[in-house]
């Protein structure tokens, strides 16, 4: 046992290095590759141009999510370019022998929701997808990160990718969360503390009591937004909560194989004495329901706080972007957000569209009606989430509250389909990005948890959910 103590990240990385060479990036083997319609067509075109096949088609899974409509999915996609992209994916998958869960399939959904749901995402794996929120899968104790299309082509062609080993960061959240505070608040809080670029160059491991106490779905929300502070990815060491979640899922090892796998997965923890390049600690009791006011996810406050003033900014260089951002949002420095009327409520995305998120929303809106001034869109993350929500009668609760459970897809998270927030309108959203125009040209986004979004749906304004629970 002379080996030096290693972090969880280092253990998984080391196991996947096919080749290491001085001055070159590591050649990393990829266990699981997910693809979708937007970032894959040019990669397949590249393979065709080189005249090569997919190296190991069984390790790639496809779904259609970014462009798909969330109503009437049984009809052909109306928008021509979207339809063409989805059809191109289907053709590419057929030609190259890749399993695809397209529209209408009971497993279709947002790529980062269906992977875990189907047991395709497992501890100790390396996982990539041409999508930055691939970090979601890190919740299982996997190295998962987003890649560009040239890299998608690399993985299709060789099942490997060239990567420099990132630095490591440990973020501990100690203690217990207060009432009305959920995992989305933890991650919005962390990003507000360290800024939207604060973890660039790092791979983050989340730890501490507050993280351990979270369900798998809540952990996915945290890892999902790692990218919003610039991190390559985020991961959480697997434990009984993880194994319990995986057990019995479609592609997970079954029976004896599962027991054996669990034994191995238990080794996936950071060794005593291993070091990180950076360690941050926060206290869960300091976290409150959060909301963003600006146009990057680091611009967040506790819902009861004021928007900072220009003078309060830590970095003087940020003043121009801060002013520009508030102007875009139509907000004044130094004013509160609480009570601000909203026009739309979007509950969806790979951050918060799993069954627990829908249950959270139902817990707030049950027996109540949505406010007259808001339009509410609730978009499940997958067909399986949708089916489960119906089985539990959540769709009825939503209907009684005055809104409809739609069909799965990315929807207003990035507004590539028809679900766009109109110019100038305010939307409280459970998604992950509040960038200018992200939810539609000139749309204005407040990021928050499903509980906070549900509260705003009922009152029609930014509300501290703790007043309703």
């Amino acid at each position: 046992m002379s080996q030096k103590p290693r972090t969880l990240f280092e253990k998984i990385w080391d196991l996947h290095v096919v080749k290491q060479r001085e001055g070159y990036p590591d050649v990393l083997y990829i266990d699981r590759h997910f693809i979708h319609e937007v970032t894959s067509p040019q990669a397949f075109a590249g393979l065709r141009k080189r005249g090569i096949k997919v190296f190991n088609p069984s390790r790639t899974t496809a779904t259609a999510d970014h462009n798909v409509p969330t109503l009437n999915q049984h009809l052909p996609i109306r928008e021509e370019l979207s339809r063409h992209q989805v059809e191109t994916l289907k053709k590419n998958c057929e030609e190259f022998g890749i399993t695809m869960y397209g529209l209408g399939h009971p497993y279709q959904g947002i790529v980062h929701i269906i992977g875990p749901e189907l047991g395709l995402t497992l501890p100790g794996m390396t996982i990539v997808c041409g999508d930055s929120h691939t970090s979601t899968h890190g919740a299982f104790g996997a190295i998962a990160f987003g890649i560009g299309t040239s890299e998608v082509e690399q993985v299709l062609a060789t099942q490997c990718i060239l990567q420099h080993r990132p630095k490591t960061m440990r973020i501990e959240i100690n203690g217990k969360l207060g009432k009305g505070v959920v995992s989305k608040d933890i991650i919005l809080y962390i990003i507000s503390k360290i800024s939207a670029g604060g973890a660039t160059g790092y791979f983050v491991e989340y730890a501490g009591e507050a993280i351990r106490n979270l369900s798998m779905e809540a952990r996915m929300t945290i890892c999902n937004m790692s990218i919003e502070m610039g991190a390559r990815g985020g991961l959480i060491a697997p434990d009984d909560t993880t194994f319990e979640y995986i057990k019995g899922r479609k592609y997970a090892p079954q029976g004896e194989a599962f027991e054996k796998a669990v034994e191995q997965w238990r080794q996936l923890a950071t060794d005593e004495g291993a070091t990180y390049d950076k360690v941050l600690q926060f206290d869960a009791s300091d976290i409150a329901p959060m909301i963003t006011y600006g146009t990057n996810p680091g611009m967040g406050i506790k819902v009861t706080d004021r928007i900072p003033t220009v003078e309060e900014l830590k970095d003087i260089n940020e003043q121009t972007s801060f002013r520009k951002s508030l102007e875009y949002m139509g907000l004044e420095p130094g004013t509160p957000l609480l009570g601000k009327p909203v026009d739309y409520v979007f509950i969806g995305s790979c951050t918060n569209a799993r069954i627990e998120d829908l249950r959270m929303v139902a817990s707030i809106v049950k027996g109540k009606k949505k406010a007259g001034n808001v339009e509410v869109w609730i978009v499940p993350g997958s067909k399986q989430v949708e089916a489960q929500a119906r089985a539990e009668g959540l769709d009825k609760i939503f209907e009684e509250a005055g809104f409809q459970l739609r069909q799965p897809g990315c929807s207003a998270c990035l507004a590539m389909n028809e679900d766009k927030i109109p110019a100038g309108k305010y939307c409280i959203s459970t998604s992950n990005r509040n960038f200018e125009g992200r939810q539609g040209p000139k749309s204005r986004t407040f990021l928050a948890s499903p509980l906070m979004a549900a509260a705003a749906a009922i009152t029609g304004r930014v509300t501290d959910v703790r007043e309703l629970v």
Partner: protein, 196 residues
């Protein structure tokens, strides 16, 4: 597949002194529906460049005839946000070969390099100086020397920048990553056989 080689570049530059320029600004999601790599330059910085009727906004720098060139000089934390390579395609398609900033998002940096767009990271001071110099004289030229890893302004002030030696070799020779990985296919097969 070989790409255009990059050794040195001397060009006028376009200033864009805005921080945290995210990939949704570089190329809004609604323009990601193409299935080829070409033509994204038209929609580069679309929502800053054109109004809702598609008319160029005169106050945006790409619509300002004084500023031209193959170098974009942008504020800190350039390229944050999504992994869409379309952002790099749009910059390359528009004609940029270099982006200068004091900080780049990770995925963007990789995507840019994979498309022969060189991200040059400089200090905040150098960045500010470069921006002031260009704004004072739009015809001023900046020289980026990849071999020596230097960036030099017209007044001779210069800074060195970092680049991974592997990526440097690729850019200078016009190679790409897939060529290298494909040469390792036997080793990869062997890894698969011994690791599952």
């Amino acid at each position: 597949m070989s790409k255009e080689k990059f050794i040195t570049l001397k060009s006028t530059a376009v200033p864009l002194p805005i921080e945290n320029i995210d990939t949704d600004q570089i190329i809004p999601a609604r323009f990601l529906k193409a299935t080829t790599r070409e033509g994204f330059g038209e929609n580069l910085f679309r929502d800053w460049r054109y109004d809702s009727e598609g008319k160029p906004k005169p106050d945006f720098v790409l619509n300002d005839p004084r500023y031209k060139g193959k170098i974009l000089v942008a504020g800190k934390n350039f390229g944050c946000g999504s992994s869409r390579e379309h952002a790099a395609w749009a910059l390359a398609d528009f004609g940029f070969r270099v982006v200068v900033s004091s900080f780049f998002a990770d995925i963007f940096k990789n995507n840019a390099l994979n498309n022969a767009v060189l991200p040059v990271t400089v200090s905040d001071e150098f960045l500010n100086k470069a921006l002031r110099t260009i704004e004072a004289d739009p015809s001023t030229e900046i020289t980026v020397d990849l071999e020596n890893q230097t960036i030099t302004l017209a007044d001779g002030s210069s800074e060195t920048f970092d680049i991974n030696p592997y990526k440097k070799t690729c850019l200078m020779n016009g190679y790409d990553d897939i060529d290298y990985l494909l040469s390792l296919r036997d080793e990869i097969r062997n890894y698969e056989l011994t690791h599952s």
